[in-house]
Amino acid sequence: MNDMVKILYLFGMVFLLILVSSALLGTIYSIDEGNVALVRIESEIGIEDSLLSSGISSDSVIDSLAEAESNPNVKAVILSINSPGGTVVASKEIAEYVLSMNKTVVAWIRDMGASGAYLIASASDYIVSDEFSMIGSIGAKMSYLSFNGTMQKYGINYNEISSGSLKEIGSPYKDLSPEEYSILSALVNDSFNYFLEFVAVNRNLSLESIDIIKDGRILSGSQAYNLSLVDELGSKNEIINYLERLNITDVSIYEINQAQSFDFSSLLNYKSSLIYPTYD
């Protein structure tokens, strides 16, 4: 075989390799088709995933949103919400990330979008819910079990040695003093005021107009629509129509799978003696 034949033969091999590898790898490593990403928030919202809880972490939701944000094919994001809420910080983290996104975000409230879940929905550009969805429950709370009465009944004393009089605030083994109660109430009210203002600003509502829901009541989708807490009653079709009005045509929805990390240390997480405000 002379050199010229060898060169032609090798060129052929190189091009064959290019064709086969590009076609094969392009099929295997393809980005999800679709111009609208769907991110699910469909359980209680917390800071971290735990094997023992069915909740969803703010980190995994934010990671999914970041993935949608950085995908140039994605023109809009649908947040599928079916959640009773969650911790204040986790809900706030997601809501603030949604606010910072440059892409259109539509919240789709399914059975329930209450408390922290509604906080997140209110950060989106458009909210669609069913007329019978449960929405609202705007407020914050803090709760804990108290075993003081039971302990006294059985003659068990709780002896407290702490560096400060408020160090053991919220301990389940003693009742709250009036001072402790006022401190915890202030924390709850701070979270609540933040929530209320966040909803008012992002939904473009006056604080007076949402005065009726300050008591933390739950509303149906229809009631929420009448109070302008929801933009449209409907389902996926209404979302697609809304996106088409924004010139996002040929809507093709693909779901971003949220990472469910398993961490053995989460088994050891223990927070029963710690109380903190939640939006649920």
Partner: protein, 172 residues
């Protein structure tokens, strides 16, 4: 009509200098860009569903899927480039760039083996990041060898024709 004068010549091999070798590599890189990267990426990105022109550096870092697609594409191109260099050098003693500049890869011991060719081409393709380190030795070595030439026991020579010293005869 002018008369042609044929002078007797003989082939000699001299150690290829740095500039010639660099030029040969640049020719190979042009081949790599136009004949490997361009056809590969046009098929690969089309099937992957990403528009490479719209992707920013930030997107490629932040989006793990895009990062994976780009990384796989990069390594695939590098492996094809390695295949090109290795197959041409093993079967023809030189890549296209070397052939065009009359350079050849020779073994310092026996005949050039596949193992030697693979070793000397790793830093020119898959381990591209180490190329500068690999070439550093050329500045000091009389035979202008890279570190990988040392490891593979190979040498790059320039094939030249010279006129035979006592063979110049007027045969008109």
């Amino acid at each position: 009509m002018e008369d042609l004068i044929f002078l007797p010549t003989r082939n000699i091999r001299v150690v290829a200098d740095f500039n010639l070798r660099a030029l040969a590599y640049i020719i190979d890189l042009l081949f790599f860009f136009f004949m490997i990267i361009m056809p590969f990426s046009s098929i690969y990105y089309e099937l992957s569903g990403i528009n490479a022109e719209e992707i920013s550096i930030e997107d490629s870092i932040n989006n793990p899927k895009i990062f994976t697609i780009l990384a796989v594409g990069y390594f695939a191109c590098m492996i094809i480039f390695a295949f090109y260099l290795i197959s041409f050098e093993y079967l023809l003693n030189g890549s296209i760039g070397k052939k065009m500049l009359n350079l050849s890869v020779v073994s310092k011991s026996k005949e050039l083996s596949l193992k030697q060719v693979i070793v000397r081409n790793l830093t020119k393709s898959v381990l591209f990041n180490l190329l500068a380190f690999d070439c550093f030795l050329m500045l000091f070595d009389q035979q202008k060898r890279r570190v990988s030439d040392f490891l593979a026991n190979t040498l790059v020579v320039s094939n030249r024709k010279i006129i035979k010293k006592f063979g110049v005869v007027n045969e008109l």
